[in-house]
Symmetry: C2
Subunit: 133 residues, 2 copies
């Protein structure tokens, strides 16, 4: 179960501590920059659509099983499967974004809360009548 990066995030967000905690709190637009080997896979993306972007949160701590939500010391330790903490056994980030523009292998998206350099694993449409197995 070895992942391959299909692209990377280009974002002004470079510091985990300073990053907003969710997209609608003001994450900036970012670029998804794809490896040319995957050009055919992204050939039908277009401005205006909503996407789910899956990323590899490469700065996460994979040994963490319980966290205090939002880093709030007054809250109880909670199993990570009941939180969106990036620290978890398989640190896959799931981000809902809107496509602003497509320029060849570069896709501009709004509200992506992911740090600069984060590997992109997959992109899926938000809505499709069928197809998930």
């Amino acid at each position: 179960m070895e992942l391959v990066p299909v692209g990377w995030v280009e974002s002004p967000l470079t510091d985990a501590a300073a990053a907003p905690k969710q997209g609608d709190e003001g994450a900036p637009p970012a670029w998804l920059v794809f490896d040319g080997a995957y050009a055919d896979a992204l050939g039908d993306l277009e401005a205006g659509v909503e996407l789910l972007v899956l990323t590899w949160l490469d700065r996460a701590d994979r040994s963490v099983l319980r966290v205090r939500p939002r880093g709030d010391a007054s809250r109880p330790l909670t199993g990570v499967f009941s939180t969106r903490s990036p620290d978890r056994p398989n640190p896959i980030g799931l981000h809902r974004v809107r496509v602003l523009a497509v320029d060849g292998l570069r896709v501009r998206v709004a509200d992506l809360e992911a740090l600069d350099g984060t590997p992109v694993l997959d992109v899926k449409p938000v809505l499709e009548p069928r197809g998930e197995r």
Copy 2:
């Protein structure tokens, strides 16, 4: 970027060709059976909550970049990032399910469209005000 299975799917679905194409078309209930090493991570799951389950679609073809949606030969070839095809470079399945019951390391869920034996990678709450980085 090496994934570890945190558990496995136990489901009556054993044949990809016969599986429904999305949960609300009638996927049966299934069990998520977790490895004991992750007991602390799932300690706060409870019946009634909605979860996103991430799986590794281990029978997928990772070389596929374009597909005919729904396997319909009359439809044009479409980049896999615009479809929910399981065949894609990183075949991570994303399933929205409802928890029916929790029994130790076994979690019963409704409407999981995943084949028996599919590795489970992660579980996330559907709704949380903050926390995704």
